[in-house]
């Protein structure tokens, strides 16, 4: 069913991806591993903007930018250079940000997402390279601030800014797009998205073809969905009361879940962009084929291969390939256990338990998964026990073998079950008569008694069959 987009919502996103997997910053040799270090201990004359210092482009940052561009199905520009975007703010020690302007390194791409009505294409306008500003800390609360403290460790980190077309029709689609983008970035191994500030977002929102508001300062996917929901409701209410939406920049206050108007006196032309005279142009389009060779198999391609190679449903393939770590985990398990058997264990059971606990697949060992599934296929433990073992490992650690031993989960032998069945039938004459007289629930009662006698180690389905067999003799 086609999605009609009743409010005419149009959302475009700008995503900043910090290339924190590089060893060094964009224009200097300062290390990118500053996250646990003292402020202003990863800085040099270049990233502090001291007079006389000269930037030099990190070649690996260019390669990473091209990788991202290609993964987003973009064209790589024949020639590009950096520009200075001029504005005075204490997070920019030079008084300008080095960025790309009229020739972004990559442009005109697209990304496929699960939209409101099936597959939906999000256009990628451009992806360009720029440097990260420093980090500002307000002394005291914002309204009673006594000053601002600045840490330039982040200053000069390589960023890729990805700009989408306003192709998302709901906050949900925006979130799906961000999830997809994060997956692609993780596949490319250019950014550790778990580090603070690794991915930051701005959003453009308009409804019914009106002016768009720009929402800044969104730092999580959940935050993006909330900020957009708030902004759409705000614009709808404004229109209902006869007002008009003005083009403006708004700040998302994550704690309160609201967006607040920011008065900015600066206009686009006030940035006075001009070509950075300290850096010569780049002509790297001829490297495209070589960079393309280094691209890993991306989520969409992997999903398709999983359905073919392992004969699984698309739903399972999608669940397994949405994160590269899960996909790799699955393939290691599938190398040891038939895909038909292990697919639901990883895609449904393990992934469900992980999601429930907000954990990643790193919390689980491939060997434990293989062992648990083997114990089930060899009839040593019941499926229910297997799920209990998975839960126990996630909740309190330990190995599958130990947990099975500790909890006494090894399935009892068939003859123990048949003894239990005979005893139960003997001890519960009334229930047996009831069942034979047509009272179906009595069967459940009898099976329950068998489970109780075997302390739950019998397989419920099997116990039921054995009770039935004895009754019908």
């Amino acid at each position: 069913m086609a999605y009609h987009n009743p409010d005419g919502v149009m959302i475009g996103l700008e995503i900043h991806v910090q290339l924190n997997k590089l060893n060094t910053k964009m224009f200097c040799g300062c290390s990118t591993k500053y996250h646990n270090d003292e402020p202003n201990s990863h800085v040099c004359p270049v990233c502090l903007g001291l007079p006389g210092s000269l930037p030099v482009i990190n070649e690996k940052a260019v390669e990473a930018a091209m990788k991202i561009g290609l993964a987003l199905n973009c064209e790589i520009v024949p020639q590009t250079q950096f520009h200075r975007k001029n504005y005075y703010y204490p997070d920019l020690p030079k008084g300008f940000q080095t960025t790309q302007y009229d020739f972004p390194i990559a442009s005109e791409g697209k990304v496929f997402i699960e939209g409101e009505d099936g597959e939906h294409v999000i256009g990628i306008t451009r992806a360009h390279m720029e440097e990260d500003p420093g980090r500002l800390l307000h002394i005291g609360s914002i309204d009673k601030s006594k000053g601002t403290m600045i840490d330039y460790n982040r200053s000069g980190m390589a960023l890729i800014e990805i700009v989408s077309e306003p192709d998302m029709r709901s906050p949900k689609e925006a979130r799906r797009f961000l999830d997809k983008l994060r997956n692609i970035i993780e596949y490319l191994d250019v950014c550790d998205t778990t580090l603070e500030g690794a991915m930051r977002f701005d959003a453009n929102v308009s409804i019914g073809g009106g002016s768009r508001a720009e929402v800044k300062n969104i730092s999580s996917h959940k935050g993006a969905e909330r900020a957009l929901l708030f902004e759409i409701v705000r614009q709808k209410n404004l229109l209902r009361r006869g007002g008009t939406v003005v083009q403006e920049t708004r700040h998302f206050d994550e704690a309160r879940g609201v967006t607040i108007s920011l008065r900015t006196k600066e206009q686009e032309h006030d940035y006075r962009y001009f070509p950075e005279p300290d850096l010569v142009p780049m002509r790297v389009a001829d490297r495209t084929a070589k960079v393309a060779e280094t691209l890993p198999e991306l989520p969409d391609a992997k999903r398709e291969r999983f359905t073919k190679e392992y004969g699984m449903a698309d739903m399972h393939a999608k669940a397994l390939t949405s994160e590269i770590r899960t996909a790799d985990f699955y393939e290691e398990v599938a190398a040891k256990i038939d895909a038909k058997i292990c697919t639901p264990w990883v895609a449904d059971v393990l992934k469900g338990e992980l999601n429930y606990r907000d954990l990643t697949v790193e919390s689980f060992k491939v060997d434990d998964m293989v062992e648990i599934i083997e114990m089930v296929t060899q009839d040593k433990i019941t499926e229910k026990s297997a799920v209990d073992v998975i839960r126990a490992i996630l909740d309190s650690g330990g190995s599958a073998t130990d947990i099975v031993k500790e909890k006494g989960l090894i399935k009892v032998e068939d003859d123990v079950v048949s003894t239990a069945v005979l005893e139960v039938i003997k001890e519960n004459e009334a229930a047996v008569t009831d069942y034979l007289g047509g009272k179906e629930q009595s069967l459940n009662f009898l099976v329950g008694q068998v489970m109780k006698k075997t302390r739950g180690r019998a397989d419920a389905v099997q116990a039921r069959e054995m009770v039935l067999a004895s009754l019908n003799k």
Binding site: T24, C30, P39, V62, I139, T148, E266, L279, M282
Partner: protein, 93 residues
Amino acid sequence: MITKDEVEHVGWLARIEIDEQDADSYAAHLNTVLEYFGQLDEVDMENVDPTYHVMDVVNVFRKDVVTESLTQEEALENTKSRQDGHFKAPKIM
């Protein structure tokens, strides 16, 4: 034509205070500069590529190898305005 208001706006962008008398005089100066650009506009540039850089060099890169950074003490050496290992600036917003 550059007006006094525009001079004041550019001054604000650069966080420079410009008093009224100066603003008038800067506007006059800037207008003379603009006139020179007017002359440049008259040159026929039909078949000339734009110049992005005065040197005809492209692709100057460095390897992704860490070099030594300054120490925090060295980084803060030139400022009196500091707090807890940070540079300190006036309040913003």
